[in-house]
């Protein structure tokens, strides 16, 4: 039986009148990399904070690394690396001083050696005397990753770790994440990038505090029941406005010079586009994760509005 690292049930968080997280369940096995997706304000950060014990849930329960999230947050903190959304290390300390501080707080043996290794491994050695506040975005992110993995945590919670980071640095970052997960580390990472979601073993999607779907990328796409057509040719740019709002057409988006038109009701969708057959070259394709994600979120928004 695989070890379950995060096992939370029915997490609810309210801020005043607003319910920001509404009954979230996550059950995550050891050694995997999961993506946590959702639009802005959907409750991702709040959920991560409840898992680490930084926020007390209004309802729900669960364990993280075998420790109760309500009562044993000290033990969870010792074994977890949490990278906050936005840089939260000390900008008036140097790179090395930041790592040194972390090493001391976690009481790591061989502190100097551990810090040296971390600096080398993440290519920060040349910048160790630079003030953290003066680093560029990509280097800040490397420093943060070095700092939250310094104490060899068993679980990594990363909140939008690659926001504002260039593609090469993002790729390096993900290589590092997969290397770490190879050593048995469990990683839950929130992201708004679909290509990053596709690098995850599984994705969890949340909208307005509610879990919408969960699974590996292929399953999520398949289970969405979405049909997508791609239109190409000279006239596609003029097509978009006329297609929007037609019955069966839920979602219209450009992909380079092609236009993706998606809908759940495949018959209605076919009927809708049949009247534009001669304006472009049509082809049925597998929906991309982005098509699926946007469709799911749109549908969730409608469903939730109807409920309330």
């Amino acid at each position: 039986m695989t070890e379950i690292v995060i096992d939370v049930r029915g997490l609810v968080k309210r801020f005043g009148e607003r319910t920001v997280v509404n009954g979230v369940n996550i059950r995550m096995p050891k050694g995997q990399v999961w993506g946590f997706l959702g639009p802005n304000g959907s409750g991702k950060t709040t959920t991560l904070r409840m898992i680490t014990g930084l926020l007390k849930p209004n309802a729900g329960e669960g364990a993280c690394l075998g420790h109760d999230i309500l009562r044993e947050s000290a033990a969870i903190k010792r074994a977890t690396g949490y990278m906050t959304q936005g840089f939260s290390f000390w900008s008036d300390l140097t790179v090395r001083e930041n790592l040194d501080f972390v090493a001391r707080v976690y009481q790591l043996p061989n502190r100097r050696q551990v810090v040296d290794e971390a600096l080398l491994k993440l290519g920060l050695a040349q910048r160790q005397k630079q003030l953290a506040g003066s680093l560029s975005g990509g280097w800040k992110q490397r420093l943060a990753l070095a700092a939250v993995t310094l104490h060899r945590p068993q679980l990594l919670l990363l909140d939008e770790p690659t926001a504002g980071v260039d593609p090469q640095a993002r790729r390096d970052f993900w290589d590092e994440i997969h290397r770490l997960s190879g050593t048995g580390l469990t990683v839950l990472v929130t992201t708004h990038y679909m290509d990053e979601a596709e690098r995850c073993d599984r994705i969890v999607c949340i909208a307005q505090g509610n879990l919408i779907t969960e699974g590996n990328v292929a399953d999520v796409i398949a289970h969405s029941g979405l049909t997508t057509f791609s239109a190409s040719g000279a006239g596609v740019r003029r097509l978009a406005p006329s297609l929007k709002g037609k019955p069966g057409v839920e979602h219209v988006a450009f992909f380079g010079s092609a236009l993706h038109v998606s809908g759940t009701d495949s018959e209605a969708l076919r009927t809708a586009i049949s009247s534009f057959k001669q304006d472009a070259d049509w082809e049925e394709i597998a929906p991309s994760l982005e098509d699926t994600f946007i469709a799911l979120m749109a549908r969730a928004g409608v469903d939730l509005r109807q409920q309330s």
Partner: protein, 379 residues
């Protein structure tokens, strides 16, 4: 110390981080060192302006050559401008109260006769001591003026009257300031004021700064406990307080010639306790305030009564009861008693143990509030 078992490394971690940040914040650091110097200079300027020619009334009950010579020597000193005669005790009081006169020199009947017999007669100087910076120097010179004058007057067979301790006893009666607050009192008091102002302000930023710079979530995600954070964060400022103390004590000794009668270690123990009280209070403010601005406002809200009701500005016993009750709660009140007691009166720790107790109680109460108020979560 069970609650702190195993906390050493984490306290050290926070202490080192805080010390580095303190060192990098050059402007704040400079301010903390410059404030005591500036205050001392401002104050020193006020008392070193050496006010002379203060309006003086004389009330002499006899008119002998010796008395005339005495009065003349007061005039010659430059400090006393004898511009009026007082008609009696009531007239003297009126002149002092209306600030018509800063001093009344009273030489009683029979003065000359007793002087010649070597009976050490008394003469009285009543002083308007409500502005000690103005009056204290003139008062300080009085005995010397008298001794000097009599060394000229008492010649020949009377020169044996020029024995120690002085042929005349000059009695100073400070009015409107019964505790006789003088520069000697104010310089040690200034130490307390400087420590209160700078240390409370700086530690009141301790947690709000983490909050405003977005470090709070990170700090909370680490396994550091509230008491560890508190100790680690205030410890570096002990050094700052110690440096300020050194500056003021050196100035007190070598610039203002404040006497130092009591044991140094008692004074240092008092300073240490007082510094910790202020740092704890500042840290507590920082756990309550949401922004640095709020922290600042709380500090000033505390600073004002500290200045006004501690006995620094106004004589403590002269204040109404309610003000005295408030005063008893302020650490500065107790520190003033310790520092004035030790420096000026030479008392030992036994005499002022109760002031130490008050400071310790203050530290414990305030520290407990801080630990209770400390945010353990982001809620």
């Amino acid at each position: 110390m069970i609650p702190l078992a195993g906390s050493g490394p984490r306290i050290l971690a926070i202490l080192i981080k805080e010390a580095i940040q303190m060192r990098r914040d050059r402007l704040t650091l400079a301010m903390m060192m410059v404030i005591p110097i500036v205050q001392l200079i401002l104050f020193g300027f006020a008392i070193n302006s050496d006010p002379k020619h203060l309006p003086t009334a004389v009330y002499t009950e006899e008119n002998t050559p010796v008395v005339r010579a005495l009065v003349q020597s007061f005039i010659n000193s430059g400090y006393y401008d004898v511009t009026m005669r007082s008609g009696g005790p009531e007239d003297s009081s009126r002149r002092l109260a209306t600030r018509e006169a800063s001093f009344v020199i009273h030489i009683p009947a029979g003065f000359t006769r007793r002087l010649i017999r070597g009976e050490r007669p008394q003469m009285l100087i009543e002083a308007d001591a409500s502005d000690p910076a103005a009056s204290s120097i003139a008062i300080g010179r009085a005995q010397a003026i008298v001794d000097h004058a009599l060394s000229h007057e008492l010649k020949g067979p009377l020169s044996r009257q020029r024995q120690q301790p002085g042929p005349v006893q000059v009695v100073i009666q400070p009015r409107y300031n019964p505790e006789g607050i003088t520069q000697y009192n104010i310089v040690p008091g200034l130490l307390g004021v400087i420590l209160t102002m700078t240390l409370v302000i700086i530690t009141s930023m301790a947690m709000t700064r983490e909050n405003e710079r977005g470090n709070m979530e990170n700090l909370l995600a680490m396994p550091a406990r509230p008491l560890e954070v508190m100790i680690g964060k205030i410890a570096p400022y002990l050094l700052m307080g110690a440096t300020q103390t050194l500056i003021v004590l050196l100035a007190a000794r070598f610039i203002f010639n404040v006497p130092f009668r009591g044991p140094l270690w008692t004074l240092l123990l008092g300073v240490l306790t007082f510094i910790i009280a202020n740092l704890s209070l500042g840290f507590t403010f920082s756990t309550i305030a949401k922004t640095q601005l709020q922290a600042m406002q709380m500090t000033f809200f505390f600073f004002l009564p500290s200045i006004l009701l501690s006995g620094f500005m106004f004589p403590f016993r002269g204040m109404p009861n309610w003000a005295q009750y408030i005063g008893e709660v302020l650490p500065l009140t107790h520190f003033l008693r310790i520092v004035r007691g030790v420096m000026l009166k030479g008392v030992g720790i036994g005499d002022i143990a109760i002031e130490f107790q008050a400071l310790l109680i203050f530290i414990m109460v305030v520290g407990t509030i801080a630990i209770l108020r400390y945010r353990r979560t982001l809620d």
